[in-house]
Symmetry: C2
Subunit: 192 residues, 2 copies
């Protein structure tokens, strides 16, 4: 019986991470990098067109970047957000990025999280979520199902002291989804 | 920058798994084992009071069991369901437990999945979900927050061809939550 599983970033992502500045003070720059990682993930055929970054909200210190690894990792939970949040929690040695001894953490994603990652964001301890968009464009362009997220998703985040900043570099994010669509790569949850 | 993370079952769980029958044809027996693993997880202080099992729905072949590993693994996504589903997907070498070449898979959990795991169930490819209960008892007894799950959660599962069987050994499941409450162990998401 299998007793463990490991999820890894692709090698290209490790190389890219080495070349990034330690801090990205401007939120637009954080999103620009996340979108770039999403594009690289499809160009290298190492997962779906999604990336996410965890940053210290104030200083912009980069804590972790994750990319979607569902198909190559044989793991339907290996979405970009789960990757980034888990890597960040490993980096700080705590399951709670919102613990009192830590700086406030922010999650930056190239679209609104799916139904699963929405919950993952809440449990992670981040206090702000920055997304490129939240409308139907992602599903319309790519064919991905984002799942039954709570109708009052944004209010439910605010109740839990997680702020939301929407529409950051939305056009740039949509271009990556169009590139993904045009690549003909597997839409891995289309069966539902 | 950290590029991988690994999630593991505790050693006691590996030992217990070795002693289980390969098949559990009766759904009640599947739930009984899941509840037993949840109890053992708190007795061994290796995580929260939650366990989940993936079985072949028809034959009852045990594919994987997961237990909650949030606090010891420093990973807020290491819920029992994510553990069990990821271990099962590793076991069959496919991110989709519902792929045409596989037997239909069932997830058995000792309560209704939280907001995150609800989405994880949908993406996993299981075609049936068996839960010990879905009411407020879990939150009332333990103090855990289960998060903003979709109000029509059950209908949304049915739409995606995932059946739900509720109230299987509910009293037995609640006893474990009471034991957890009385143990004084950390309720890890109470800060939200």
């Amino acid at each position: 019986m299998i007793g463990n599983f490991q999820l890894t970033l692709p090698n290209w992502a490790l190389n890219e991470l080495e070349q990034l500045p330690t801090h990205l003070p401007d939120v637009m720059d954080r999103m620009r990098e996340v979108i770039r990682f999403a594009r690289l993930n499809i160009e290298h055929e190492t997962g779906g067109p999604f990336a996410a970054g965890v940053f210290e909200a104030e200083s912009g210190r980069l804590v972790a970047i994750g990319v979607n690894r569902v198909v190559p990792s044989h793991c339907s939970s290996a979405h970009a957000e789960v990757m980034a949040l888990s890597l960040a929690q490993k980096a700080i040695g705590d399951f709670d990025l919102g613990g009192k001894e830590h700086q406030a953490h922010q999650l930056v994603v190239n679209w609104r999280p799916c139904a699963m990652c929405y919950g993952a964001v809440i449990w992670s301890g981040v206090t702000s979520l920055v997304i490129a968009g939240s409308g139907p464009e992602l599903e319309v362009i790519t064919g991905f199902d984002e799942g039954p997220i709570h109708p009052d998703w944004q209010e439910e985040l605010l109740k839990r002291n997680i702020s939301v900043t929407d529409n950051v570099l939305k056009e740039e994010a949509c271009v990556v989804f169009e590139e993904f669509r045009d690549s003909g790569v597997l839409v891995y949850n289309a069966s539902h």
